[in-house]
Symmetry: C2
Subunit: 440 residues, 2 copies
């Protein structure tokens, strides 16, 4: 599978007959399949270079060490590893998680950490605990696809705050909060991926971090800081997490999916204690407890493996892939296009030449054996047709160079179409990209 | 830990100051801590015989086989096991799950199975997809504790249907559905644990199964069949799952937590395809995907280990524990008490002599070094003071005999109190059992 299940976005369900259609909860109307899933099923063929997925390159993992760890957890800790655990999570793992967060300036107690099924579950639990239908969630525009799906599943009203190469624009945030306050909207939190943003690749500057926190505190607004990529930095100076400087106003979400493996589904939330209590109860009714086995495996990995050095190795590998992508884009992209230059993470955000439509041209691109995610996937609403997200985490540098070559070929033919007929590929007719019934 | 995290039930939160108290969603009011958690923290001391927890006896697991399986999954399937998977779950595991369900007469396609974080997550996802605030969920009375919490977390109206030693009473179900139809209530599904019920230990008879299905079909009501214990039978003839005879009207929930281990958190839902589509989308926004690693481990266990024989071994072990409990109860319980005689599963449901209060006497019982779950835990509302759930899954036969001896001592002193003063232990004052901030 060469596509990250994260790549999905609301669109109407197919019109299959559903005898239960009258029985679903109102929130289920917000649960809809990816409009590009059918294409991604094609894109997962080996001959296609996928610049779409956000999957880490797990082939770089130390399998011998992991194999030793998992069997020791069974033989030495079986009675605990194979039993139910607590809904908050294993205390030893929560202690290690605090060490990991310390690398980004966070001083936290394991008592305030809850272990979740990836940071995705933390995102779901926070939304479940805070969002009534119609409550407002602020997010960057563009933002993480599945965060949009989760907020929509709880019937939140999603408002995007403008961002640029330095991250979210404080003035835009303040202006929006002022406007929403004036209309009496119930704004519950500001969801942000401030470091190596998915999909934009940009990082909120240190100066802006202070201003964003000041604005949110002034408006008494919780910040939901999602930071899966923070330790994957390939150049530049580390930045402090937002949570490091505002412990009472920030709920912090972390994950081992990118720094170790998504296969264990270990993420976490760090929250003020009153919120943590609610999250633990929500987690209990959502799953009773997470896998004790996986928590002990990750805890033992952090206790016995040189994981900081391991992350350095990952960063060298990813840096080479990022450089391959940026060098190819610099050399080949047509005039009128621009893109971000991420200092870390997995993604480059591209602005296409005037008149090109990333969603409309995707079928042609897949036909040319290259895949990406159209910018429309990262907005609630219809923005982003002039953008695409390119990921450099999964393909090799050679594949990346070839992928960019193929992509540029598609762009050039789209441009000549535009110049000849005044418009490029027509947007697909409704139903052209009806969703597959489940994930690829 | 000698208590199953499943043992928790609504009561008001402690009165700690919470700066976010005005910000939570309405549904968060339904997320409240266990009223008996503080006591269970005491009950987890080694000197206490706990007849409270519903934890399987994982010390009977084949650790050598599991240790070999987990390390082979890393070394031979690492690229898949350590990567993201699909939200529906691993296809090979779903195939094996269909074989497991076949043992109870279910003929199903892997396409209609979704793998979840224990059957608890399946319960949460089904509720999320179907329940708007005020919608009615029918359940047996008594019923599974955390199902009550989950329904409450989605603001469902919970109505209990009377049951006896043959399971839920069809006439009571029909009467309630007729009454609810008359008042125009939106009844979404009937949640049932028909085989070796938690907590009652009883099994719905074959004759009643047909009648319950007929009634639900006539009222166009979905059945949510929760069957974690069905394969743990110690005597009597196997019964067919409800799903086996009504594929279009039943959502079936299964789990490997009792037949293998709760440590991998692998459960599943089998649902009609339209519902399955919704559940997959809900799972995606709730966690992206379950642990690929755990799914491959359980799949490999089912493919390579004689799991049917393993379950037979478990059943011999649990049969001895059940017999120890029933023999002790027969020999020692005071006049005026009665209890169920489960043919499988983990639990015996006790009716206490007139005037005794299982919730009020729990502190005294823990003081006498024996723990149980008061019947009040298994009802939405205040029923069950005259009942208690005793579990025989975790303690050894010797511990069970000693536990029942201690329990009977408490009952006899309660009875003499009652006979002398006209009432037994006074109910605890409000706050006496304020909840711990998180799970024990």
């Amino acid at each position: 599978m060469s596509v990250d299940p994260r790549e999905s976005k609301p669109c109407p369900q197919g019109s299959r007959i559903d005898p239960y259609v009258g029985s679903y909860a109102a929130r289920a109307q917000g649960m809809v399949a990816s409009e590009v899933r059918a294409l991604f099923a094609v894109a997962s063929r080996p001959e296609v270079v996928s610049l779409a997925g956000g999957m880490p390159n797990v082939s770089a993992l130390p399998l011998d060490a992991l194999s030793d760890i998992v069997q020791r957890v069974v033989t030495e800790q079986g009675a605990t590893a194979l039993q139910y655990g607590s809904a908050q999570g294993d205390p030893v793992l929560r202690q290690h998680i605090c060490e990991v967060m310390g690398l980004e300036g966070i001083d936290a107690s394991p008592d305030d950490v809850i272990v979740t099924v990836g940071s995705q579950q933390a995102l779901d639990l926070v939304t479940k605990v805070f969002i009534d239908p119609g409550d407002v969630v602020l997010t960057e525009g563009p933002t993480y696809v599945t965060a949009i799906n989760t907020f929509a599943a709880y019937q939140a009203r999603i408002e995007h705050v403008l961002m640029d190469d330095d991250g979210v624009i404080p003035e835009a945030l303040e202006e929006m909060l002022t406007r929403l306050a004036a209309e009496g909207a119930r704004v519950k939190f500001f969801y942000t991926v401030p470091t190596f943003n998915n999909p934009a690749g940009v990082t909120l500057t240190t100066e802006r971090r202070a201003r964003v926190l000041e604005i949110c505190q002034r408006f008494n607004l919780l910040v939901l800081e999602d930071n899966p990529y923070g330790l994957l930095r390939y150049e530049g100076e580390p930045v402090r997490a937002l949570r490091a400087d505002a412990p009472r106003n920030v709920i912090y979400l972390g994950s081992f999916s990118k720094t170790l493996s998504p296969g264990f589904r270990i993420g976490w939330a760090l929250a003020p204690s009153a919120v943590r209590d609610k999250l633990v109860l929500a987690a209990e009714s959502a799953m009773l407890s997470h896998s004790s086995f996986n928590q002990l495996v990750v805890g033992r990995y952090l206790a016995t493996h040189p994981w900081r050095e391991q992350i350095k190795d990952f960063n060298e590998m990813y840096r080479a892939r990022r450089d391959a992508m940026l060098t190819s884009l610099d050399a080949l992209m047509p005039a009128g296009s621009s893109w971000t230059r991420p200092e870390g993470g997995f993604f480059v955000w591209v602005r296409l030449p005037e008149g090109l439509d990333s969603k409309a041209m995707l079928p042609r691109a897949v036909g040319e054996r290259v895949a990406y995610v159209p910018g429309t996937g990262f907005f609630h609403g219809d923005d982003g047709r002039g953008n695409m997200r390119l990921s450099f985490c999964y393909p090799t540098p050679e594949q990346i160079r070839e992928g960019v070559r193929r992509l540029v070929g598609v762009l050039e033919s789209e441009i000549s179409l535009r110049d000849t007929f005044g418009s490029a590929s027509a947007p697909p007719r409704l139903g052209d990209d009806a969703p597959a019934p489940d994930l690829p």
